[in-house]
Amino acid sequence: MLPKSGDRFSEKIMLETTTARQRISRGFGMKTILTSLALLGLVLAGTAAATTGAIAQEEAHNEAAPTHFPIHEPKEMDWSFAGPFGTYDKAQLQRGLKVYKEVCAACHSMKLVAFRTLEDLGYSEAQVKALAAEYTINDGPNDAGDMFDRPGIPSDYFPAPFPNDQAAAAANGGAAPPDMSLLAKARGVERGFPRFVFDIFTQYAQGGPDYIHSLLTGYDEQPPAGMEIPEGTHYNPYFIAGVSLKMPNPLSDDQVTYDDGSPQTVDQYSRDVSAFLMWAAEPHLEARKKTGFRVLVFLLLFGALVYLTKRKVWAGVAH
């Protein structure tokens, strides 16, 4: 047991620990206590898995009065901007903008998005100017001290449909429709273990657009028998915060005219507006992914060189 050489330090340790151990293990059943503590730890890890399953079962029981939302998880769609080389589909963003302008904008503001940034969607400077001019912006005060209306210019932001949140809430049954600038990043259904671990490797970051698309296409489903839907709300099993929401089904087939021949269906509208909202929330996504690839390639090459250098430096030294 003891080291042979004259190393006093470790020798002393060995002696002291051995005697201490003998002293104590005779008195109490310390090993038993330790073993049970170790078992407790293992049991903990085991119960974690078991109870998660039990909780899921509990929920499944009363379909008419669910306690966890959304009732259905968002459907995972194929998005052009997913993955390490993802880019926005400009035609899709333009269609999404059309849906926003003709449908959503009636109630939802998008106050962080400036007209000038719409050039990202493939519009020319002149087209953006014309588009901005369609809007009336309340500006001022002028030299006489009066507020005045003028046509929009590219540096303006999308004007809100209501003068303030209170007006928006009053016109919409008591809840102001959320601003849409960041909606695609501000919504996301929890992925849960172990999926969030896989998400790291699949680079799943489309929870927002998936959610919006599922919500917009989820109004057709009928509530289960016996479920109470509060008055003035609409059942949607994809809604994140309850069985139903104040917003009625906003989309119907052929509601928005597409001039590029894309299908004029609720599903297509929902995809397009979800993609557009992702752009609105993350306009520099393409630059981010492009830069990221270069950075990673650089780190990989530089890392490989440093590793080889490290091997050479340490070659003569056992460690």
């Binding site: 330090f9 470790s10 060995m14 109870t51 909780i55 520099h284 981010r288 440093v306 070659a315």
Partner: protein
């Protein structure tokens, strides 16, 4: 280590002139070039350097972000969005800073667990360990206040919940809470003082880091065997050996960091923080940043009154107690052997503790209801048992494995044993290097 005399000899006239007046180059040379480090340090020892790098990166990105940020409750949220949309490379700065905070904590947790595994806190490194614990506390305060600055829903409600802890303290609790908030609720004064402190604390961290490194250079690094350095053959020079190894460790770490910054920048955040703070709308589940989740789980695990201590105060005490445990580790651990490598029982409990900490983290992210509460209570029990029972008792009853006589002996044994590199050269080299 420091008792060894300086081997610095300035080569130029300017060098000699400087050395006679203010020997800063000598200090740098002695600390980062000639400084002897144990030859058997593994990659777990690269996290000290990684943490220094992360601190510098957080300060640099933070200083630029502060140039564009407006610490006012009516402007803060939009000013962050302005950074994300209009400031040149603003999205990069902001994502580096927010993910940098997370990776700072990733690195610090690995650093702390490394210390626990190899017994790095044992004499004569108690003060070094405590300085590290202070840095960790300062980091927690900085991280928490930084998360409030974007003024999203989680910022606001996280701040409301966390400052609410202080009101549980008897007598002075309300006063402390109001001092922190600058009022009775989280509002503009809170944001202003948090911004000020968020800017200040990193510099305090940097100060304590200097003390931490100073203490380290007095007692020298621990190493995987836990045996003190005994002769010159046990060590190699910091440069080039440790510098190149640290550099490689940093690059691997930066690779993973960059992967998140560029491809999953919001993975570690919460969607609700992209909704502007609304004092009238409480989010369904208020969760703190992931790096606080184990402590949050401990806080919520105390659902019962203990004598005069109600469950709220009990939770707060348990939470602060769980951090206080770290400060006591050097004296709670009674083992004379440092490294878990030679402590089979401790090794088992160490890994159970790691599992327990991860489990607590997951429980912290779940709603405090049903069987989650019981699981959190059991996990909390094990957390405290690890420090208060396992550490003291194990040192007395465990039979450690045979310790090698020296670091060099351990290294040579390992290389002889199995497939480690170049045995012939390895045995020849140690005497000539160092």
């Amino acid at each position: 280590m420091s008792e060894g005399h300086s081997t610095y000899t300035p080569k130029t006239g300017i060098g000699r002139w400087f050395d006679a007046r203010m020997p800063l180059p000598r200090l740098v040379y002695d600390s980062f070039v000639a400084y002897p480090v144990p030859r058997n340090l593994n990659y777990a020892w690269t996290f000290g350097g990684i943490l220094a790098l992360m601190l510098a990166a957080q300060m640099l990105t933070g200083i630029v972000l502060a140039m564009h940020y407006a610490a006012d409750s009516t402007l803060a949220f939009d000013s962050v969005e302005k950074i994300m949309r209009d400031v040149n490379s603003g999205w990069l700065l902001r994502y580096m800073h927010s993910n940098g905070a997370s990776f700072f904590f990733v690195a610090v947790y690995i650093h702390i667990f490394r210390g626990l595994y190899y017994g790095s806190y044992k004499a004569p490194r108690e003060l070094l360990w405590i300085l590290g614990c202070i840095i960790y506390l300062l980091m927690m305060a900085t991280g928490f206040m930084g998360y409030v600055l974007p003024w999203g829903q989680m910022s606001f409600w996280g701040a409301t919940v966390i400052t609410g802890f202080f009101s549980a303290i008897p007598l002075v609790g309300d006063w402390i809470q109001q001092l922190l908030l600058g009022g009775y609720a989280v509002d503009n004064p809170t944001l202003n003082r948090f911004f000020s402190l968020h800017y200040l604390l990193p510099f305090m961290i940097a100060g304590v880091v200097v003390l931490h490194i100073w203490a380290l250079h007095v007692v020298g690094q621990s190493n995987p065997t836990g045996i003190e350095v005994k002769s010159k053959t046990d060590t190699v020079a910091f440069t080039p050996y440790a510098t190149i190894k640290d550099a490689f460790g940093m690059l691997v770490f930066l690779f993973i960091f960059a992967y998140f910054v560029f491809y999953l920048p919001n993975f570690l955040g919460h969607p609700d923080n992209y909704v502007v703070a609304d004092p009238l709308k409480t989010p369904a589940h208020i969760v703190p940043e992931w790096y606080f989740l184990p402590f949050y789980a401990i806080l919520r695990a105390i659902t019962f009154n203990i004598g005069p201590i109600n469950s709220k105060l009990g939770g707060v005490l348990a939470m602060f107690g769980s951090i206080a445990m770290l400060f006591l580790v050097p004296w709670l651990d009674t083992s004379k052997v440092r490294s878990a490598v030679y402590r089979p029982w401790y090794k088992l409990f160490f890994w159970l503790f790691v599992i327990d900490a991860v489990l607590l983290g997951w429980l912290g992210s779940q709603p405090a209801e049903g069987s989650y509460v019981f699981m959190a209570q059991m996990a909390t029990l094990f957390y405290f048992a690890f420090f208060l029972v396992v550490l003291p008792v194990l040192g007395l009853v465990e039979t450690p494995r045979r310790l090698p006589n020296s670091i060099t002996e351990a290294v040579l044994e390992k290389n002889k044993g199995g497939g480690g590199g170049h045995p012939a050269r390895a045995t020849a080299a140690p005497e000539t290097k160092g």
